[in-house]
């Protein structure tokens, strides 16, 4: 049970750290000032959620690893994030669409996690749900405006749908560990989130004139530590300071 909980916390924390890092790459590069603040705002929320999860994972593991040790001092194969989180940002449309998919999923996930049998996990959900609601709303509105916008924005949004499609099935992939954890009532069973998630996506995609994605051919591996080639480059940047100056604090 403890090993399963540690692994489930780590998966969730890795999703948030890696995606938060990707979003932070937009800082200073977004197409307009308003989004230059909005995207790093979301990134900071995600990294804040990752911190709580890593800290609790470290306590559960019980060998003295803190949030920094877990976030910065593991090797690539030990990260268990979803592949979609580590994909390069692409253009603004692709970043927004990925964030919409993720935030829509996380909103449903946190809603179910509010009634977790684990009090710490339920508390993290209580804080995260407010943030996820805003992320879902902000990105959903952008998907509609880009998908149903100019010829160019519609073309870019549809192209993003095709790039991200193979990575959607992994959201609902249940490993042996996560099955055990959902049965003990700590986290929801991800399979049960697929239908409500698709309903949410359908509603936005209809308003955005986009084709509904197909989840059947899912690219998997992130949960087992098998990553895309983008992951090593991401970690090189993410881990640089802690690797160069071990135990640095600032």
């Amino acid at each position: 049970m403890q090993k399963g909980l540690f692994s489930a916390l780590l998966q969730l924390a890795d999703d948030h750290l890696v995606l938060g890092h990707r979003l932070s790459e937009w800082c200073g590069h977004a197409p307009m000032l308003e989004e230059d603040l909005a995207l790093p705002n979301i990134a900071l929320d995600l990294i804040g959620q990752a911190r709580s999860l890593y800290t609790y994972a470290g306590e559960i593991e019980g060998v003295g690893r803190d949030e920094d040790a877990l976030a910065f001092c593991r090797i690539e194969r030990e990260y268990q994030n979803l592949l979609i989180c580590e994909l390069p940002n692409g253009d603004f449309a692709q970043t927004i669409l990925r964030q919409f998919y993720f935030s829509s999923f996380m909103l449903l996930f946190w809603e179910q996690t509010l009634k977790s049998s684990d009090a710490t996990v339920a508390a993290v959900a209580g804080k995260a749900i407010k943030e996820a609601k805003y992320h879902r709303r902000h990105c959903g509105e952008w998907v509609i405006r880009l998908g149903d916008g100019t010829d160019e924005s519609a073309r870019r949004m549809q192209a993003s749908c095709e790039i991200l499609e193979p990575y959607l099935g992994e959201f609902f992939h249940t490993s042996y560990d996560s099955l055990e954890i959902s049965q003990s009532g700590v986290f929801p069973d991800k399979n049960t989130l697929q239908e409500p998630w698709l309903m949410d996506v359908r509603e936005v995609f209809q308003a955005a004139n986009l084709n509904i994605p197909d989840l059947t051919h899912a690219q998997k591996g992130g949960r087992e530590g098998r990553h895309t080639e983008a992951m090593g480059h991401l970690l090189a940047q993410l881990q640089y300071m802690q690797r160069s100056f071990p135990n640095m604090a600032w």
Partner: protein, 96 residues
């Protein structure tokens, strides 16, 4: 950088606390009112500044012409009696 025709300018008003009025705090670009409210939240309320946000399209604001300044505002300069400065306030009233 931002196309004013496609992404218009909005004026942002924030109410910091209950009982206070909304105050103008700046402007931003957004495609429509929904996005303008979200951008206002992201740009102007990051440090807990607000409980309520208003946005209005900048083109909807009618402003006085700076060239009319003399006829608009100078006539009030010599009417000091309009300021409530000519009362003796009893000490017991305290700070007003």
């Amino acid at each position: 950088m931002v196309d004013e025709e496609e992404i218009p300018l909005w004026e942002v008003f924030i109410r910091p606390r209950n009982g206070l009025a909304h105050r103008h705090c700046g402007s931003l670009h957004a495609t429509d009112s929904k996005m303008a409210l979200q951008a206002a939240r992201d740009v102007y309320t990051r440090r807990g500044e607000g409980l309520s946000v208003w946005v209005i399209p900048s083109v909807q604001i009618s402003a006085s012409d700076p060239q009319d300044r003399e006829e608009m505002f100078d006539p009030s300069d010599d009417k000091v009696y309009r300021h409530p400065n000519f009362y003796n306030i009893p000490d017991d009233v305290g700070h007003m």
